[in-house]
């Protein structure tokens, strides 16, 4: 974890996210501003020129996912349904995803999904955020929160201005706010020296 609260101001000059005051843990929290290529999300206008390979993606372990503002409501609703189902469907308890994670996957597409890409040092599946013109880390907190995810209402004036600026750069940009648990890199970087091939 990053060293206490001076880290955010060292990394991001302007405060863009108003985090809640009532932290409940020390895992830390990250907020990423996502710029989706909406046309690729919708797969519409197949005759229109869309340059190939104009997007990138983010990958992180599923247990770090807290919420995405674009899918939060459906995610929570599905989570509640699953919790009720667990009482009557014991099979759900043995799923390799928790109910919270499964609800996120069930309601995430096309904005977020479970990935087939694997990480050699992680045992949990990775989630993928596809079709991105880009992503910006806009918030870091050294604490974690109960039942909080970042929405546009949590952006400061600087955050709102940056949000609007990014939105205008490319056609059909759709923005999202991704909240993750922990402040460490989204996945561990594996160097050649860490492998048997070194």
């Amino acid at each position: 974890m990053l060293q206490e609260m001076d880290a955010p101001t060292q990394l991001i000059r302007e405060r863009m996210v108003d985090f809640p005051n009532d932290g409940v843990g020390r895992d830390g929290t990250l907020v990423w501003l996502l710029a989706y290529a909406e046309r690729l999300l919708l797969d519409s206008r197949p005759d229109a020129y869309i340059p190939l390979e104009i997007t990138t993606h983010l990958l992180f372990p599923v247990d770090r996912f807290v919420g995405l503002d674009l899918t939060w409501e459906q995610h929570q609703k599905r989570y509640t349904e699953l919790l009720k189902s667990i009482e009557t469907e014991p099979m759900l308890r043995t799923n390799y995803l928790t109910a919270y994670e499964l609800a996120a996957v069930d309601t995430g597409r096309p904005h977020i999904d479970i990935s087939t890409i694997e990480h050699p040092q992680l045992t949990r599946p990775l989630m993928i955020v596809p079709h991105l013109y880009g992503a910006f880390l806009i918030g870091i907190s050294s604490v974690s929160y109960a039942d909080w995810h970042c929405t546009t209402r949590d952006l400061t004036e600087h955050g709102q201005a940056f949000y609007e600026r990014v939105k205008r750069i490319f056609p059909s940009t759709k923005l999202g706010l991704l909240t993750l648990r922990g402040t460490e890199p989204l996945v561990p970087l594996v160097l050649k020296s860490d492998t048997d091939d070194a």
Binding site: W32, E53, T56, L189
Partner: protein
Amino acid sequence: MRREESYAGFLEPPSEHRVSNEGERVWLFVRAPTDAVGAIVMEPYEMIATDRTYEAERAAKDAFRNGISYKEYRKQIERIRSPLFVPNFTFRSDYGEFYDEMVSRPVLAVFLMGALEKGYHEQVYTYDDLTDDGKAFYDFIKTLYPGSELYLATALET
């Protein structure tokens, strides 16, 4: 007002005459000042070089043309790119194979600065090849993330 179908973004090619039928894409990478935070992302597909490594990569390519082995050439490229990109031992397919592209060291941001349907640049895009809006955006990002290193990566659209 930007045309709805335009992906030129912040790019201002040095010439109006195309030099290739292959398109160009330019990405901005913000390399974190610490490895303790950030995202690990794949190198852009068909990346030529970054603005900060182009000259060294071109020298390595010249050396390859003049006789150094491919293995030695790749070793040089890996060394040159190592402040931002490293060989991929991080992401592998469900078949157990690591993807060929390099991966970034932790970055605080990655963003497409523009994509053009044809190639207009003989080399790679640099700060000077951005529009005024592009330069303003780049400058803002540089100020936003103090201590970070910014790279412009140019890739072909094949």
